[in-house]
């Protein structure tokens, strides 16, 4: 089992959810985050002066998947999160961590079937 963490643009959340649905990944956890990275050039204005914002709003997805779902999940996120064909700085990243166990609280099921 893998624990996938994806950092994406907020405005792509709907697209990513749609793509995930297509590959039958129907469970995930969403939270908001601020990203700090390569992405530059987003200027804001505050009282007569411009400044660069370097903590940018991002959405973080946490998705636990069984091994056979890993590739489809990554592909789905990619499709949904990428801006245009080329992609743009700030489109985000996907991190894959090993997952040792999962417990479904409701049923006490554990392991792959609890995912």
């Amino acid at each position: 089992m893998k624990y996938v963490i994806a950092i994406i643009r907020p405005e792509r959340l709907d697209a990513v959810k749609r793509e995930l649905k297509k590959v039958e990944v129907n469970r995930l956890t969403v939270s908001s985050a601020l990203g700090y990275g390569e992405q530059k050039g987003h200027l804001e204005v505050y009282r007569a002066s411009e400044y660069e914002v370097n903590l940018l709003e991002k959405i973080r997805l946490d998705i636990a998947v069984n091994d056979e779902f890993l590739e489809p999940t990554i592909e789905a996120i990619r499709r949904g999160a990428k801006t245009g064909d080329e992609g743009e700085i700030g489109d985000g990243k996907i991190f894959v961590l090993p997952l040792e166990n999962v417990i479904r609280i409701r049923t006490d099921e554990t392991g792959p079937e609890a995912i």
């Binding site: 907020p10 405005e11 709907d14 601020l34 987003h42 200027l43 804001e44 204005v45 505050y46 411009e50 914002v53 709003e57």
Partner: protein, 397 residues
């Protein structure tokens, strides 16, 4: 003839109250949009104060209240020419009359903005309200209140037709060019902060006492009447909306109650000084139900009047204008007192306003769409107008 101090005090404070409806509107609308568009939405109300105030004193007032002809007031008072400290309108200084009327000119186009949040270019919005103020508001105001062809015919105590029907209908007309928000229909677009909207409804109601009460232009019995009906009708409309929602969905929402209040405020506006308190209850109840249906119906038709400007100001304004023709009994007589002629006059006023406002709005929209363009790009819409149009983020850690 001199001014009456008490009337002056009353119209002055009423003017302040009406101005206060603009921040109220900004909150009411701002709370209902998503976080990424809240400043953009609030700015629509604020910038209207800036743009229309200047336009009004330069030319709008003259067009609306100059002597002119049946259609328009003309240029005699541009730059407030011919008016000075001691000019009098009724029993109040003309400067005060200009201010009070100016507040109505400001809020009317701002109301429209609720339909088109999150996708209109800011500069085109400014151009739109400036043109609309001249082409739609000033003439209609002249017709009904400024000596034009509807003056003394259609009853419109405080702007059911002049303010609400024109703005409600124009909101709908503008959607021809602006279409839906991205994501509309697919996902629920939820209000980002309902407490803001409730607060906004509170400010609106408070301000509306000036809107309707001040329209008596004197601190007299009619002001008192307009005030009590402005308390009663929204109360009834809020309850009606709540009852409808409760029956229909099982949940009486806070935002629904607030929306009902606004519907009641809209509907009582043309009637406020012409009907009894008991008639105000009925007007409120009917308006609450009609607007509820209108808003529900929209969902089925699938157009994205985002914050229901038509459903509330359009439908509520038409309901109010017609019911004024039914229930009028103080200083005028309506259908219930056997004066069916008045009802027909009301209907005439409604039809003319609906047609005129929608045609002109489509023309203005068409011109702007071809020149500066009305809609932002898809990417800008996705990111949100606060960042893309205004370079701001509303909430920061």
């Amino acid at each position: 003839m001199a001014i009456v101090a008490a009337d002056t005090a009353w119209v002055l404070i009423s003017s302040a109250l009406v101005l206060f409806m603009l921040p109220g509107l900004a909150l009411f609308y701002g709370g209902m949009v998503r976080r990424k568009n809240v400043l953009s939405s609030m700015m629509h109300s604020f910038v209207a104060i800036g743009v229309i105030t200047i336009e009004w004193v330069i030319i709008g007032y003259s067009l609306a209240f100059g002597t002119g002809n049946w259609f328009i007031g003309g240029f005699e008072h541009i730059f407030l020419k011919g008016i000075d400290l001691y000019s009098i309108s009724g029993t109040i200084p003309t400067y005060t009359f200009i201010v009070f009327q100016g507040m109505f000119a400001i809020i009317t186009p701002a109301l429209i903005s609720g339909a088109i949040v999150g996708r209109i270019k800011f500069k085109s919005y400014i151009a739109f309200i400036a043109l609309w103020g001249l082409i739609v508001y000033a003439p209609v105001c002249h017709w009904v209140w400024g000596g034009g062809f509807l003056t003394g015919e259609a009853l419109d105590f405080a702007g059911g037709t002049v303010v609400h029907i024109t703005s409600g209908v124009s909101a709908l007309a503008l959607l021809v060019f602006l279409g839906k928000r991205k994501g509309y229909g697919l996902d629920a677009i939820k209000p980002h902060n309902v407490t803001l909207s409730l607060m906004g409804a509170g400010l609106l109601w408070f301000g509306w006492f000036g809107f309707n009460g001040g329209s008596a232009f004197a601190a007299n019995e009619i002001a008192g009447l307009a005030f009590i009906t402005t308390l009663i009708a929204p109360a009834a409309a809020g309850l009606a909306w709540m009852a409808a929602e409760w029956t229909h969905t099982g949940k009486p929402t806070a935002l629904g109650f607030a929306t009902g209040i606004v519907a009641g405020l809209v509907a009582i506006t043309p009637a406020a000084g012409f009907v009894t308190p008991m008639a105000a209850i009925l007007i409120g109840l009917i308006a609450g139900l009609v607007c509820y249906r209108a808003v529900m119906f929209k969902g089925k038709l699938g157009y994205d009047d985002s914050l229901d400007v038509f459903g509330i100001h359009g439908a509520g304004g038409i309901t109010g204008a017609l019911l004024t023709g039914v229930f009028a009994s103080i200083g005028a007589t309506g259908l219930l007192l056997g004066n069916s002629h008045q009802f027909l006059l009301q209907l005439e006023g409604v039809i003319i306003a609906v047609i005129y406002a929608s045609v002109c709005t489509i023309l203005i929209g068409f011109v702007l769409d071809r020149t500066s363009g009305l809609k932002v790009s898809e990417n800008e819409e996705n990111i949100g107008l606060d960042k893309t149009c205004h370079g701001e983020t509303a909430y920061n850690i």
